[in-house]
């Protein structure tokens, strides 16, 4: 701050306001609500859910106020001026020279994510009121959901890496609790454990990265900014100062990025995310699609200078973030084709979209990537909640598209319309929001000179359009199947996942009487709100319509300064946009044709194709087995570590130790036989007897030391210590 004292005196003071200054209240409200729900939730008329919803609503209001005032703040700044974030910091605790602060860091990015998180959390909580009604751990569910929001908001607001880490870990914990919400089912607790462990693997990177940044940046930040090396602002300035050793910052950036890989489900640690769909659908919608998983992306965007310098973004050739992002886009999109579970399709789609964000960040397209966080949150939450709505009201708690869905567009018109809007947004069809963000990413990647990655992005767009069309077709078109057709096969419940077994089930048995139907208002209203946003939120940064429409860029993107690297934006050209639109429409059309033929008309050329053509079959199998990554992790890595060591130890035990013993015994026996035969009997006897007596007497002599009496052991210990001490003293004097 002191660095720019002279400049800021010249410039007009930036507007601030109560909401910005007190933004730290935003996470505090849910945290208090969490404590209250845990303490008294069960005694409240609505089992504590009202506290959760209320706290989220007030957080939303606070966040919206902060957003409004932030916009005012940016408007009050001059054109090229760096808009200072609103930073407040208090000393939390200190130990041995370390000062751990607690505080807020509000800038465009955090305000954006705050609003998204608070908004989606509010809607999801309202949605959960209906979706989890009657659940056994209803109160705990809302407690965990509220704590999750508190953690995420705290992380977003964090002014230093320790607080960031705290929020990050709270989210991890809540994710674990919520995935395993119906832990009675073994699969769910396994999924929860898997998610936890996989993410923890990445978290090691976060710890390493934070520690490295602290130790290398602390001196500089203390000297120049007067803040500790945990401060996000300090680290950013340090990274851009040209001061840091390039190796250190590269390693730190890679370490941090490993954490992002874990949290945001990037290749190769993406395997937990689809499994995490075992949690209740609102959880999937909130945590595993729109908010928590973007934490990794947020970390990259937050500490962008570190990655920018450390990984040489905008330099020649690709960098780690881009490569990982690109791989993730393609492989997860491919996986989405072979899933029958609608939530898993959406999960892989999430992974793929997170890959887009990473790709954008890696290619220097900061603004489009952040904007994609914003738009993606709305349409992906809408899709997930739509899937939940289907399972809740139509498919009898099943998520299997092939068996229990189909033809639902007639019975669930609202869900259908919102789903279609969100799908189009996801595919990036003009003028839905996804177009404005995703296309921008692809465009900017190309503009910044990464043509190969742009092509991968386009391929990804094609695949996205295709698998979403497949999923939509299977769900809403064609003939109703299974539960959607009104079949209530109780024996099939056992095959379903835990959703069939959860407690709400009993309340919904009434549905069996009247088959699939539209969901209630508590479910459809959030859907409608989200779909409106999925449709319209893109216009906040609608590059095609010229500079004046790029409001988001004005508000959110940090202008080039000591705290933010200089970035360029690709000029929008309709030719490129129409190319990508064309690709998207091709994807939709091809997929629609194939889906119609395969699923409805049962075209003999397509049905069973994978069985007939060997190469396709292999590919299908490869995809169905998720590239054998789980096998790699569980069977190969774990076993290769565990088994060989165990086997080696066993072998060593069996062959070498036993061999020595046996050999020793054998040779002794032979020797004694030889001795017996060859030496005079009396001498032999004497020897044997003497040795036995000797052994026995040694045993008898040493036996008292093993008395099992504590005080005797103490006596031995102390006398040994005393003698040793005496010897030491005598030697030294």
């Amino acid at each position: 701050m002191n660095l720019f004292a002279s400049e800021s005196e010249v410039l007009a003071p930036l507007a601030s306001g109560w909401f910005l200054e007190h933004a730290w209240l935003i996470p505090v409200v849910p945290a208090i609500a969490f404590a209250l729900i845990i303490l008294i939730g069960k005694r409240l008329p609505m089992k504590g859910s009202e506290l959760g919803v209320l706290s989220m609503l007030s957080s939303l209001v606070l966040a919206a106020g902060a957003g409004y005032q932030w916009i005012q703040r940016t408007n009050s700044a001059s054109e090229e001026q760096f808009v200072e974030p609103v930073i407040k910091s208090w000393s939390w605790w200190q130990s041995g020279g370390f000062n751990f602060g607690i505080g807020q860091h509000i800038d465009g990015l955090s305000v954006l994510v705050l609003i998204v998180v608070a908004f989606i959390s509010t809607l999801v909580q309202i949605y959960s009121l209906e979706y989890l009604r009657g659940d056994r751990r209803y109160t705990h569910f809302f407690a965990a959901l509220t704590l999750f929001s508190g953690g995420m908001l705290a992380m977003v607001l964090a002014d230093n890496m320790m607080l960031f880490l705290l929020g990050w870990e709270i989210m991890g914990l809540c994710s674990f609790m919520l995935i395993g919400h119906w832990w009675e089912d073994d699969a769910n607790s396994r999924a929860a454990l898997k998610a936890f462990f996989t993410v923890r693997t990445g978290d090691a990177g976060l710890l390493v990265g934070i520690a490295m940044l602290y130790f290398s940046a602390n001196d500089w930040t203390q000297e120049h900014l007067g803040v500790s090396g945990f401060s996000i602002r300090g680290i950013s300035a340090w990274a851009l100062s040209g001061e840091p050793n390039s190796t250190v910052i590269t390693i730190a950036a890679v370490a941090l990025f490993i954490a992002c890989i874990g949290k945001s489900g990037q290749f190769p640690l993406h395997t937990w995310l689809p499994d995490a769909m075992a949690g209740p659908t609102p959880v999937s919608s909130l945590l595993h699609s729109s908010t928590m998983v973007v934490a990794g992306v947020y970390l990259v965007a937050r500490l962008y200078p570190v990655f920018f310098v450390g990984l040489d973004i905008l330099g020649s050739g690709g960098n780690l973030i881009m490569i990982i992002g690109a791989i993730t886009i393609v492989i997860s999109a491919a996986l989405a084709f072979v899933q029958n579970d609608i939530k898993r399709v959406l999960a892989y789609s999430t992974v793929s979209q997170l890959g887009y964000m990473m790709l954008g960040l890696g290619a220097g397209a900061w603004m489009p990537a952040v904007f994609h966080i914003f738009t993606h949150a709305f349409f992906k939450a809408c899709l997930f909640l739509g899937a939940g709505s289907i399972s809740h009201s139509a498919s009898h708690h099943s998520f299997d598209m092939k068996r229990d869905m189909g033809g639902l567009r007639k019975v669930m018109p609202i869900t259908f319309v919102t789903w279609i809007i969100s799908t189009l947004a996801l595919c990036g069809v003009f003028p839905f929001s996804g177009f404005f963000s995703k296309d921008e990413i692809i465009d900017n990647v190309g503009h910044n000179g990464y043509t190969n990655f742009m092509i991968i992005g386009l391929v990804g767009a094609f695949m996205t359009a295709a698998y979403m069309t497949r999923a939509t077709y299977l769900t809403f078109f064609g003939e109703p199947r299974g539960a959607s057709a009104g079949e209530n096969l109780h024996d099939s419940h056992a095959d379903h996942d835990a959703h069939a077994a959860h407690d709400a089930h009993a309340d919904h048995d009434s549905h069996e009487a009247h088959g699939p139907h539209e969901s209630g208002l508590l479910i459809t209203v959030p859907l409608m709100i989200l779909s409106v946003l999925a449709l319209g939120s893109g216009f906040l940064n609608a590059t095609p319509f010229g500079e004046s429409w790029e409001r988001m860029k004005l508000w959110v993107e940090p202008r080039h300064s000591e705290f933010a690297p200089e970035l360029h934006h690709a000029p929008f050209t309709w030719s490129k946009a129409s190319l990508s639109l064309l690709i998207v429409f091709m994807g939709i059309a091809i997929s629609w044709l194939i889906s119609t033929r395969l699923f409805t008309k049962r075209d003999p050329r397509l049905v069973g194709l994978t069985q007939r053509v060997k190469i396709l079959g292999l590919g299908h199998k490869f995809l169905v087995n998720k590239y054998y990554l789980d096998v790699l992790y569980e069977k190969v890595i774990v076993r290769s570590i565990a088994y060989p060591i165990a086997n080696a130890a066993y072998w060593f035990n069996q062959n070498i130790l036993d061999g020595i013993l046996h050999g020793f015994a054998n040779s002794t026996r032979k020797l004694s036989g030889w001795v017996y035969q060859n030496i005079d009997q009396r001498i032999v006897d004497g020897t044997v007897n003497n040795s036995a007596t000797l052994t026995k007497s040694i045993g008898t002599a040493t036996q008292p030391t093993q008395s099992g009496k504590v005080s005797q052991y103490g006596a031995l210990l102390f006398s040994a210590a005393a003698i040793a001490a005496l010897v030491l003293v005598i030697i030294n004097t």
Partner: protein, 99 residues
């Protein structure tokens, strides 16, 4: 006052405590001997704190007192449990670990 007079006092208490640990077979008495040892340590800490003019020794002495309280709580819980199961708290009778 000499430094050594306090340190000697602590040393004497320590040795008496050691004797108690060795000589006593009643579990409660053994715990008491351990308390003697802990107190001699505290005297040392405070002496050195005064000698060096810092307050670190005081903090450690307080921590030792707190840990001793925890130790006695758990220790006596164990003694009660042993008494309930064996009807004795003589440590010599608790020699299942005898070799």
């Amino acid at each position: 006052m000499f430094v050594n007079q306090f340190l000697f006092l602590a040393a004497v208490l320590f040795c008496i405590g050691v004797y108690g640990v060795v000589a006593r077979k009643n579990a409660v008495l053994m715990l008491m001997s351990i308390e003697l040892i802990l107190n001699s340590v505290n005297i040392n800490l405070l002496t050195f704190a005064l000698r060096s003019g810092s307050t670190d020794g005081h903090v450690f002495a307080l921590y030792i007192i707190a840990v001793a309280a925890a130790e006695v709580g758990v220790g006596l819980g164990l003694v009660l449990l042993v008494y309930r199961n064996k009807k004795t708290i003589s440590l010599d009778d608790l020699s299942e670990m005898r070799g």
